[in-house]
Symmetry: C2
């Protein structure tokens, strides 16, 4: 279960004062809450590519080098998408008898060759892109919505979203689709459930309007997904075989998009939000659930990432992993099943640049960046209310000669850089400099897949448009370097 | 149980990533957690005066008007202290057969006439002031430490504190004193347990050094108090009569003192810290515990204050309250025992100035202030990492003509003032303007007690010094207006 732009602080059990997540809080009581769980990147597409490949974006290609250290993703102009060479989680599972379904947002490319059914999934119900729009279908087509390998409509046309009132039934469809899938499988299955109603502009179905204490569309959408997760878990619990054999992991693809102010979630005490390599950009709400195997009501302080789910799932299923490539994935089985702690390195990237490294209690920033000053001045703010001198910088700032060091337990908000002349700094920093240098010299970047854009690849005529009579004329191809503004 | 400078975000159950409070978290599971509980003032002395009188500092006199809207407290130069006219919680309880004891920091004046045994307490073990020092006993005496009505030593002399290593056994003494009192009472009792080891400079006893994940003195001190609270509750639980008849309330006197950086607690997602009328200054961790009467594992979003404990206790004990004075105290019994919600107004003061008002989901700031710019430039920062334009102002800023409005559930961090031209603002603001005006016109300020200072009143020769041969020469009295810098 992968949320879209949900923040660490949105979980009631992570201290959200409004306590909008009773079902997730119950899930945590029945399982293991992770306080220090990370995504692989502070943005949707690279994070999702990393979840499914077990590899950092710098390896699987979900980054750009058009500009140094810039975030990139897969808007409908993007030419690139998930590489055929990558071996995705569902591909390996499919080879071993699993039935795989994705419900929700794919975001690994929308051209035919990138669609989920070409990459290990047997079923798909959702979209390849965010629910942006509506568009005029002339300068820009509305985003296609898919059933398996073909479109079944477009957002704002067949898939209704009332953008002004922030209303849609889509999350309800995703909840039903999940429950229906779970209750009809005879083989082992992998469900990748990834609704995107928490991504601005957020939406909720009519019965949830006003359901949140926050009295906001975001709050209502959170209530709706929380209730849906409760239903999905109940479905599993009601069947003894399912209950005994189903591992559920809940997390989010990146931190709360504070740039969207009140149409966004909360990162609690963490610094900044989506788009940044501060904790608010990459530390996620995370719960492991498997009542018969994971100790109940446990809180793990283990530093881990979304990529670890890759190796963990193959460890649990006893499926051998490929040995022809590098992984950025630890087996979390000892953590999940015995509440042990393992030594992990967390690498924080922005585009093609390794920005920071965490190991154990410390995190060191080698580069800092929020967004360019000119952009910030127009009101685009990834760190509303946050200002930390020399840290929340509006220039990409190189600290490789004197890295910034933070104690992540004492100071999870990254407020107080440890003074460089302190004993603590001097006794610790070399480890992080070594980790940084070693990672860079040992990491062979994959080919960047998010450099090129082309209006011709947009959702003019996706597979299936003919049957619906919804094909639109495709303009002439004019590839250009995508502009990544931050 | 009143902590000193503990922050809202320090409770594990309020989302502290380090989860340093397992016993308090368990207390919350056995009782009711309040998410929106306030102190009466962002500073020690006024907050404590309000707890024990059920009245705002503006009424009980724990404020200054030397300068407009400035914080004040009771350092050892202070001439003032709690007024004889005030009727304190323990006074009313004593009249009704209760045995009352204060363990820890008094902070309502240290001259003879202000001591706890003159104001309703039968026993006192602690100090009248903070554990500041050590001093030279020439220009400034070390702070006296009391047993009942007489000093039994001084901090840094008889009451050992290793300031460099931040070590003291004092919290252990306070824990033992509490348990001993609880287990030896035959009459009903009131224990006011208020250790001050979380007030910077924090300290902990040797066994707790390194006990916290934070690896800090503050973290260790928090672990030590949490463990002590566990022991105290166990003591109550082990005796069926005590268990059935003891109401325990846990909170803190003001928000985390972020000015002390890593020697301070956490306010979680809340704005700024101690000294301010932003949420980080005044919203507190709070737990009500009475397993036989308070529903277990409940979270109450009720807005309430420390002053409400006054009326609540007299409601529970069926003791009539004085009718000759105004109270700022609501009876929380329906909240505690039936999880109901009542309509409350929260008034946020700084010195003699009403700064903000909360009712229901909204809070409106009529004045904003952090600290003077000149002081801020010397490094004194009540809002580290926080900067919100027009809100975290370094000048006392008058917004009475266009009050700032925040939705406290959607935006507990007070990041996003609701636009003045929005329907939401227009439909809501008048209520708050009325509350502000009505409160000011209906409130008759008490005589300000914290205006005058005098070196002659310092701890030169407290009661009991003769027996210890610890009297110091008292300098000539030279009263002067206290200087309150922020
Ligand atoms: Ca996202
Ligand atoms: Ca205090």
């Amino acid at each position: 279960m992968l949320m879209d732009d949900m923040g660490w602080g949105d979980l009631g059990i992570n201290g959200d004062p409004a306590r909008e997540t009773p079902n997730l809080d119950a899930m945590a009581r029945e399982g293991m809450l992770f306080t220090d769980f990370y995504t692989a990147n502070p943005l949707c597409s690279p994070s999702r590519a990393s979840l499914l490949t077990g590899r950092l974006p710098i390896r699987n290609g979900f980054y750009t080098d058009n500009i140094h250290a810039r975030n990139s993703y897969t808007p409908q102009e993007i030419v690139g998408g998930i590489s055929d060479w990558e071996i995705l989680l569902p591909e390996l599972l499919a080879e071993n008898g699993y039935r795989n379904k994705i419900v929700g947002k794919w975001h690994l490319g929308h051209q035919k060759q990138y669609l989920p059914l070409r990459h290990g999934f047997h079923e798909f119900f959702g979209s390849t892109n965010c629910h942006f729009g509506p568009y005029d279908n002339k300068s820009r087509p509305n985003i296609a919505f898919f059933r398996d390998d073909h479109m079944i409509g477009r957002y704002f046309e067949n898939i209704k979203i009332d953008k002004n009132q922030q209303i849609s039934d889509l999350s309800q469809s995703y909840i039903k689709e999940a429950i229906n899938f779970i209750t009809t499988q005879s083989d082992p299955f992998f469900l990748y459930w990834t609704p995107d109603s928490l991504h601005a502009p957020t939406f909720r179905s009519v019965p949830y309007i006003g359901s949140s204490s926050r009295s906001s569309s975001y709050g209502d959408a959170l209530r709706e997904l929380d209730a849906g997760i409760g239903k999905i878990l109940d479905t599993i619990k009601q069947n003894q075989t399912l209950a005994n054999n189903t591992f559920v992991f809940f997390t989010s693809d990146n931190g709360a998009a504070l740039v969207s102010t009140t149409d966004a979630g909360s990162n609690g005490p963490l610094l900044c939000g989506k788009q940044t390599t501060f904790e608010g950009g990459v530390r996620e709400p995370a719960i492991g659930w498997w009542p018969s195997r994971i100790p109940h009501s446990t809180v793990s302080r283990q530093s881990a990432t979304i990529m670890d789910l890759f190796r963990t799932i193959f460890s649990i299923t006893d499926i051998p992993m490929p040995i022809d490539r590098e992984y950025d994935s630890y087996d979390l089985s000892p953590v999940l099943f015995a509440n042990k702690r393992i030594d992990t390195n967390i690498y924080y990237y922005r585009g093609n640049q390794l920005m920071a490294v965490r190991n154990g209690d410390y995190k060191s920033h080698f580069w800092t960046f929020t967004n360019p000053l000119e952009q910030f001045k127009t009101g685009i703010n990834f760190c509303p209310a946050n200002f930390i001198k020399s840290i929340t910088t509006h220039a990409l700032t190189n600290y490789t000669q004197s890295p910034k060091l933070f104690h992540m337990i004492r100071d999870p908000g990254e407020r107080y850089p440890i003074p460089e002349n302190s004993i603590e700094y001097k006794s610790v920093i070399h480890k992080y400099i070594n980790l940084y240098n070693k990672h860079i010299s040992n990491t062979i970047p994959g080919k960047p897949l998010l450099n090129w854009c082309d209006k011709a690849v947009m959702h003019w005529s996706p597979p299936g448009c003919e049957a619906l009579n919804m094909c639109l004329p495709v303009p002439q191809s004019k590839p250009y370097r995508c502009d990544w503004p931050h």
